[in-house]
Subunit: 423 residues, 2 copies
C-alpha cells in the first residue's frame, strides 16, 4: 500500500486529545450528568470496552455492525470495540440480572467506537451518557426517560433545545395496512424520513391503496407539532395498531405535561429512523449549532430477549461531545452581542452615511462584505446574536429587521433610532 | 480452528461487567482520586483509546508492545488500544505543549488494554489513574509524586501499604563499572530482581572484577530498609554515577520526611524492574491482599524527547481495580473478628473438651479441619483477623499464640482465660 509517512505523534482521523480546560469541561459535564441520573434513581453499569463481535453485532442492526472496529483475540475469536452501550447493558440484564426485582434503572457514561467517514461532529471515538429503564412497558416509563433527558440537558446548562417525539407503531401500522413489498416499504420510509412531498407523491401515484390509505400517507409529513397533531393522526389511522400508537403518544404527552417539559417537545409521527430497533416511542434531541442529534432514544421491547427472558425497555443515549459543542455554541451566543446592527451592502452612498452616523453615535455597525442574500444575512445575524439587520429600502432608507418585527426608518429619524440602542 | 460455541452473552477472558454497588464503588474511588490530583494542582488529560500502533510502540519497550491489542483502520494503517497512558501523555506534551510554561502537571483516569494470560488480578482491560509532573528534574519533583501517591491512597481509605523506592542509576552505575556483556548484565539484573543469593554467588564466581565490585554486588540485595541503607550504599558505590544516585535518593528521602510520609516508604536499591524506561528514581506500592503492585512509577527523562523537545518527567500509574481489591481486603480484615480462637486439630479428647468449654462460655471457637501446619494456621489466623491460635502441648494443655506473644494454659486455668476474652 502506498501511504504517506506518519508525522511523529500524528493521530488517526476521528479521535482527539483533550487537555487543560477542554478536558475539565468534559469531566465537569460528565459529573453533572452522573449526578442527575443518580438523583432519578439510576445506578451505574460499566461494561467492557470490547467483547465478542458476534455478541455486539447480534442486535446492532446492519449499519452499526458494519461500523464496528473488529480485531482478534489470541485464540482467534473476533472481538469488537463496543459501538454503543445499550447492547452490552441489555446483555448484562438478560444474562446476569434476569431474576432482579423490576424495574431496573441503569445509566452509563462511556466511550463508543464507530468507523465513520469523518465529517463535522462525527468522531470515531465519542462519549455516550445514557439511561435504560427496564421492566416497565407503561407510558409513564416512556415519559420518565424523556423528562430525565430534559432535566439532564437543563442541568448541563442548555436552555434552547427541542426533542422530537414519534411512535414507530403508527408507521408500522400504516405499512401493515398497505401490504407493501419490502422494497416499496423501504422507499416509503425513506420518503417519509426526508419529508419529501415529491417522493411521496410519486409513491402515491404507483399505489393501489384506497383513499383512506392515500390520505394517511399524504398526511404523515404534516403530523408534526403540538398535541393537536394527535387528533389528526387519530382521524387518519387505518388500524388498531395505528390507533394504539396515537393513544400511547397521548398518554406520554399527558405525562410530560405533568412533568412540565412539553415546551421542549415536538410531536412528529413522521419520525421513522431506527425502525429496525424501536418498538414504541422514539425521540431525538436537537440544539442550535449542532447538525446531528444530541441524543436519541426510544422503546426497544425486543432487545433484552435476545440475551435472556424478554423485558420491555426504554432509554436514550446522549452524545457528550455534541452536548459540549451545543453548550459552546450557546455560550458564544449568550455573550453580549458585539455588533448592534449589520447592514446589507447596497452600495448607496446615502445608506453608507447611515452606517457612518451610527458609528459616530457609538453604535457598533458592520457592513455585510460577503454580499449575502437576505435569508443568509438574517441567519448569520441570528447565529451571531446580532439583534438588527438593516435592509436597503432605497437610498438612505432602511428596513430594520429585529426579533420583534421590522420597521422602516427614514434618514431623518435615524439618529433618534440609534440613540435608543445605545442607552 | 476448532472452538467451542460461545454461550449467549459470554464475555471474553480478562474483561468484566460492573454494576450496582461494584460500579458505584469504582466511580466513587475515581472521584476521590480525581479530587486529590486536582488539589495538588494536576489537570486532566484525556488521550484517545486507540491510536497508531507505531506511536504507542515507539517507546513502550518490547514487553508492552507485544501485549498490545492491534487492529487495522480502513486505510490499512495499524492501530492499537493504548497499553498505558504515560506514552500518549508524553506524545501530547512533546507534540502539542512544548511551548507551555513549565512544569506541567497532568493526571489521567482511563482504561488500558494488555493481552496477558489471565491470572489472579491480571485483567486485559483495567483502569489506571496516574499523574505526570513534566519539566522538573529536581528531587523535590520526585518527592512530590510519591507524596501525592501516599495522599491518594490514604484519601481512598487505604491504611496499610508500603512503597518501595529505588534509583536505577545505582544499578546502572554498577553495570557500567563492571563492563559486563549485555547478556551477563541481564543475568545480573534478573538475579538482583529476584534477590537470589544463590544466583548472585554464581555470577560472582564467574566474575573477574575487583573486590570492591564483588562487595557492591553482594551488598545489593541487602540495601533495603530505612535511610541507613543509603550510608551503606554510599560506602560500596564504585563510581560518580552510583554516588549521584545515592545523593538523589537521600534528597528525595529528606523531602519525603518533610511530607511526613516516610512511614510508608522502604528504600530498596535492588529495585531494577523497568530499567529500560526509567532514568532516576523508581517505585512500586504494595498492600496486603494484592499480589501485584497497586501502583508503579518513576522518573523517565528520555520519553518526551521521542515526540518533541526533551523534558524531564516523573510520574506514577495506579491500577484502580487493584486498589479496589486492596480496599475490599482491608474492609474484610477490619470487620470484628468472627472467631475468638482457632484450635489445632490434635485429636486429643481433652483438647476437644477445651473447645467445648470455650463454646459453652460464649466464645467463638473453631477447629482447624484442614490439618494445616502451624505456620499455615498462623498465616490463616492473621489473614482472617482471628486473634488466637491454640496449639496442642499435650492432652488438655494448649499454647495460645497471640499477636503479643504466646502462653501455655493448663486445663484448670482454661475457663478463667476464656472469660477474659469475652468480657
Amino acid at each position: 500500500m502506498n501511504r504517506k509517512r506518519l508525522a511523529p505523534g500524528e493521530l488517526p482521523p476521528g479521535v482527539a486529545d483533550l487537555f487543560f480546560h477542554a478536558a475539565e469541561q468534559k469531566l465537569a459535564l460528565e459529573a453533572t450528568l452522573r449526578d442527575r441520573f443518580t438523583r432519578w434513581g439510576y445506578r451505574p453499569v460499566i461494561p467492557p470496552t470490547f467483547e465478542y463481535a458476534e455478541t455486539l453485532a447480534s442486535e446492532a442492526g446492519v449499519r452499526l455492525a458494519e461500523e464496528m472496529y473488529r480485531f482478534f483475540d489470541r485464540d482467534g475469536r473476533a472481538l469488537a470495540l463496543r459501538p454503543d452501550l445499550t447492547i452490552p447493558t441489555a446483555r448484562i440484564v438478560g444474562v446476569k440480572l434476569f431474576d432482579q426485582p423490576l424495574p431496573l434503572r441503569f445509566y452509563y457514561i462511556g466511550n463508543v467506537f464507530r468507523y465513520e467517514e469523518p465529517r463535522a461532529g462525527k468522531r470515531r471515538e465519542f462519549t455516550q451518557a445514557g439511561v435504560e429503564l427496564i421492566g416497565a412497558a407503561e407510558a409513564s416509563a416512556d415519559a420518565e426517560v424523556i423528562a430525565l433527558l430534559v432535566d439532564a440537558l437543563q442541568a448541563a446548562g442548555l436552555t434552547d433545545f427541542r426533542i422530537t417525539l414519534g411512535q414507530i407503531g403508527f408507521f408500522r401500522g400504516l405499512l401493515a395496512a398497505l401490504s407493501l413489498s419490502a422494497e416499496a416499504a423501504e422507499r416509503l420510509r425513506i420518503a417519509v424520513d426526508r419529508r419529501s412531498q415529491a417522493e411521496l407523491e410519486a409513491i402515491l401515484a404507483d399505489l393501489d391503496g384506497d383513499d383512506r390509505a392515500r390520505e394517511a400517507i399524504a398526511a404523515l409529513p404534516m403530523l408534526a407539532g403540538g398535541p393537536e397533531v394527535l387528533d389528526e393522526a387519530a382521524r387518519v389511522a387505518l388500524s388498531g395498531e395505528m390507533e394504539a400508537a396515537v393513544v400511547n403518544l397521548r398518554q406520554v404527552w399527558e405525562r410530560l405535561r405533568q412533568y412540565d417539559v412539553t415546551d421542549h417537545i415536538v410531536l412528529d409521527l413522521a419520525q421513522v429512523r431506527g425502525m429496525a430497533y424501536y418498538t414504541g416511542i422514539l425521540f431525538e434531541a436537537f440544539a442550535p449549532g449542532v447538525g446531528f442529534p444530541l441524543a436519541s432514544g426510544g422503546r426497544y421491547d425486543g432487545l433484552i430477549g435476545h440475551f435472556g427472558p424478554d423485558q420491555p425497555a426504554v432509554g436514550f443515549a446522549l452524545t457528550v461531545d455534541r452536548l459540549l459543542t451545543a453548550l459552546d455554541h450557546q455560550a458564544a451566543a449568550e455573550t453580549a452581542p458585539l455588533i448592534d446592527v449589520i447592514f446589507q451592502d447596497c452600495g448607496h452612498m446615502e445608506c453608507l452615511s447611515l452606517v457612518r452616523r451610527a458609528r459616530s453615535l457609538g453604535a457598533r455597525a458592520a457592513l455585510d462584505v460577503l454580499g449575502r442574500s437576505v435569508d443568509d444575512l438574517m441567519a448569520y445575524a441570528r447565529e451571531q446574536g446580532i439583534s438588527r439587520v438593516a435592509l436597503c429600502e432605497g437610498p438612505g432608507r432602511v428596513r430594520l429587521m429585529m426579533e420583534t418585527g421590522s420597521r422602516v426608518i427614514e434618514a431623518a429619524a435615524w439618529e433618534e433610532e440609534v440613540r435608543t440602542w445605545i442607552g
